[in-house]
Amino acid sequence: MKALLICEYREGKLLESSYELQAFARLLGAESAMVLIGSAAQAPKFDGKVYLADAGRYGEYNPDLHKKLVLEAIAKEDPDYIVFLHSSYGWDLAPRVAAALKAGQITEIVALVEDKFEVTCCNAKIRRSVAAKTARTVLTIQAGAFSFTGEPQGIPQLERLEVGDETGKVEFIGYEAAEPKDVDLTRAEVIVSAGRGIGKKDNVPVIAALAQALGGELGASRPVVDAGWVAQSHQVGSTGQTVSPKLYVACGISGAIQHLAGMKKADFIVAINKDKDAPIGEIADILIVADVMQFVPVFTEHVRRQ
């Protein structure tokens, strides 16, 4: 069994998450080769073949050309699996490669169960096992689900990858940096975050009051920020800030993977949610099963009295 692992490269650097592909391939028991559209200086540490195409020539993001490059590597390597990270790069490119091959694609794998791939659905409340019916299969793996332990090692055997220089249908203009943060949640010892479960914007001060009573900062989940209830600078998660406070209190946050990615390193996690099955319960040290808007004011009063 062979797997072709597609590395990620952005702003001149190999992304560390590329090593998660190696961890996954190891678990799969597959012999593997990697593809990097980047630079030789940034080749991944790996005891095996790395197909290398020059990002200077093919761009860091050019889905049509990158698709052709990956297809070229597939033609040379003849893999059973083509594996991407489930990321802004991977979920964009994987279906293009799968469509060109007319191969089955399995998205955002979180685990291997026997010979099938496990994926989540309905906000991680249910899992499905999925199998491909095609000879080749395109896979994307959930970020963080297959962590690479130890130091990456090995000297890759580089092989040049080239395709014609035609332009693609998507023209890359440039990067825009993340907005500067006026609130630095990464230094906060206590964060109390509001999720959609608080019901409405008018309830935000109730959550902020608990944050203040605990001497901490107000955080927020993505839907609350998108709805305009709390400023983006307070967002915790994969597209917001990654935090590691001593105490994290999640108020009415169900626990989407993107949010968990930003706060699971907190020393102690308290979740308040009326849904006992909410995925946040999986990582919380304490899950308070209650209506968040009933519980929080009572608890804030309690904290203030001490």
């Binding site: 825009e176 040290d285 009572v298 608890f299 309690h302």
Partner: protein, 258 residues
């Protein structure tokens, strides 16, 4: 300009899910359904573009599923869509993303759309494949995960959201497909007069058998609840009592009150 918006109707994610008797999908009984949240941004962007073009656009709202999805299509029409298309399929959950994309492509090929909007993924299955696959099947330019969108004389600029909060800006020429991320815009609430008007808009119903010619490429085995890790403590009961217990536990197990 001819615009297509592909939407899905999904259960409220706050629901408690049960597995159906086939063991391969959730049981739809007792679930409240609504428009997939990502798709609301897709509809809104189409309507904003039509406004920018001073009405010189026609927006088709399409959905695949059982009869309940008509309600989601009507919402899209009340938000500003012009015509609805319901592709009837009571066994929609047995189709894989390749087949769903092929079905829409079967419809789209006959109608020559300039621009297609989809959500970046559905909240239930979350394959994030249908939009991109549809673009590939139609040979459209495609940008995913849009958090910014601008149209100017035949070309569009899309801001793609990247990990860490940065963005990648890309330009595409029509015909194109854009998959929409949350936060792209502020989806409007349909007003009562618009809800009434939506009921009179053109509405077409097509059985899926007329459009789907492709076999599935992947198959769902079982569907099941995740194994409970059960590491944490679950507290239930009266609010006052819960508050006491939480306070005592935080005092004992964290340094916050020291």
């Amino acid at each position: 300009m001819k615009i297509l918006v592909c939407i899905k109707q999904v259960p409220d994610m706050e629901s408690r899910f049960k597995i159906n008797s086939e063991g391969t999908w959730y049981d739809e009984a007792d679930l409240a359904f609504r428009m997939n949240e990502y798709d609301e941004y897709a509809v809104e962007q189409a309507v904003q573009l039509k406004e920018q073009l001073c009405g010189e656009a026609e927006i088709t709202i399409l959905s695949i599923g059982p009869d309940r999805v008509v309600e989601a299509i009507r919402k899209g029409l009340a938000m500003g869509g012009d015509r609805g298309v319901h592709i009837q399929d009571s066994k929609y959950y047995q189709k894989d993303p390749w087949q769903i994309a092929a079905t829409i492509a079967g419809y789209a090929e006959k109608h020559r759309f300039d621009l297609i909007f989809t959500g970046m993924q559905s909240q239930d299955r979350g394959s994030a494949q249908v939009g991109v696959t549809l673009a590939e099947q139609l040979d459209f330019a495609c940008a995913t995960t849009a958090v910014g969108f601008a149209y100017d004389s035949g070309s569009i600029a899309v801001k793609r959201e990247l990990e860490g909060g940065g963005k990648g800006v890309v330009r595409l020429k029509l015909p194109a497909l854009v998959t929409c991320q949350m936060g792209l815009n502020t989806p409007r609430y349909p007003t009562l007069p618009n809800i009434m008007k939506a009921k009179k808009k053109e509405f077409q119903t097509v059985p899926i058998s007329e459009l789907l010619r492709e076999a599935e490429l992947t198959a769902t085995g079982r569907m099941y609840p995740p194994a409970k890790k059960g590491a944490g403590l679950i507290l239930e009961g009266e609010v006052a009592n819960l508050s006491e217990r939480l306070f005592a536990l935080l005092k004992e197990r964290t340094a916050v009150f020291r």
